[in-house]
Amino acid sequence: MTIDWLRAFVVFGGGPALLIAAVTLVRRSERRLGHGPDESGPPVTTGQTGAAEISAYLDRMTTELRLPAADVAEVRAELADHLRDSIASLEAEGFEPERAIREALGRLGPPAELGRQLRTAHQSTRRLLAGAGGGVFAAGGGFVLGYFGGIALALLGFLAVFVVVALLAVVGVRLPDITSHDGGNTINSLLYATTLAVAAATATRYAVRTSAGLSRRAPRTVAVFWAVAGALVFGWLALFGMRGPQSWPGVALELCIPVIAVASAFVRIERPMPHVGLWAVIVAALSVVVMSLGVFAVSGLSVSGSGSGSQAEEAETIQPPDLHLDVVAPMAPAAWLPEGGFGSAYGSESASSGTRLWADVGWELPAPTIATVLANWRDMRFEAWHAGVNQYSIGVDTRYSSPFEVQPAVLHGSSLDAVFHFERLRDARSWWVVLTAVGPDGHRYRLDDGQGGDATFNGSAWDWLTAPQ
């Protein structure tokens, strides 16, 4: 047995360690924003001096700072201390109280200039680089945390909906099934998009708050940068990077992800992130367990209560094996076909590059014989038609009058091949492919009964938007 040490390290060692480091970094950085658990903070200055002139001076100075809240509070408290000492000293020298205040303020210089100088002193290039690097690191950690949080959130939402639907079923209310027609694509794509949306929001918030704390800038100052970066990164990811099952609701939510990232950079950005504690994790886990047990209990009741009716329904909906192939083309006269017909061995295989279909011309026929057989036919092609709308109706879906995709049949050895991209089709869950060709009389004929299968869209949101109908 070989061990993938790199993957093992990432999953069991480095990954969690980096995650813990990122969360620690966020918490430490958030202390600068004035909402963290900082016990060494400055004293409260409100009402200390009692002089409106001093407050007005400090207010004017503060407006030029544009620093995190903790830094603003510290600077303000420190200067208030200084003014108090300075005024007391001046009064001891014989200054009148009002004149002492004006003199002390005058020695500090213009408030706006002092504020600008203090801002420059705090916002060094070194801190800016630390903020940028820390922001990227925190974004990575936030993305992972948000991803897991998104999965939990999506599952809880799904369970809640499931419980409501099951309870309604118990009391006799049957809701229309809006998901079975696409093989669960709607649910899967919504779960996927919700997960990425939460991850994007968490990553952007972590980046803004961490970089603000480390670079000593007000969160709204750095938010613009991270909003643009978040919109670009998560916009690309939502449009091109997320590959999997898709649906219109899912794609709509995915297209909202860059907007969510931008909003996360600004909306209530001064407030701290909710830190998930141990009790929150325990309560969430217990909720999932309790809800799951409830769902199983309710679904069991539902099945036992309606079992016989469902079986009767199934029996009624089973269709006779009519493939409805006359919709495609009339079958070719037997005299023009090879012995045993085309497609005696018909097969398909799905891969990331599409679904390859082939139909044998004849089992182990020599090449000259194959050439003779095919000489009767021209414009040989595989036609892909929409197939039955549910599992009990097979063959061509008679609601359609033309194939949704046509590929030329290419001879490889003794078989005719074509490649279809069913995974790129929005509206074809089931397909039926038939080999057709134009015969000696100039009419198109069906050369075999073809083959059917199921398809699930698998691609990005961009693939979905640009997919053929």
């Binding site: 060494s40 420190e78 500090l108 200039e113 100088q117 002193a121």
Partner: protein, 115 residues
Amino acid sequence: MPGRIRGQLLKGTTTLLVLTVLREGELYGYEIAQRIRDNSGGAFVPNEGSLYPALHALEAAGALEASWRESDRGPRRRYYKITKTGLGMLEAHAQEWAAFSLGMARAMGVAGPKQ
């Protein structure tokens, strides 16, 4: 006593003066200004408006550490403490200043020629 030195001449010396007085121990902002004035016999009175930006810049550069704690009298204050980086910076500044002042004295003819 030569009297107070004009602010223009003091430009660039704030860092040296701050680091020098903090070598003796932890102080808060107002104390630093007072200590500079007292140590220089009143010759140097730092511009209070440039003192705090200098303190915060030195802290950002790692030359100083600051912490809030109770003072002997009155409320909590922000005390500054020199770090190893600050001590190295002080030594470099002091040598630079010594060379500068000696050069100035020689140029003005108040010190002997270079040996």
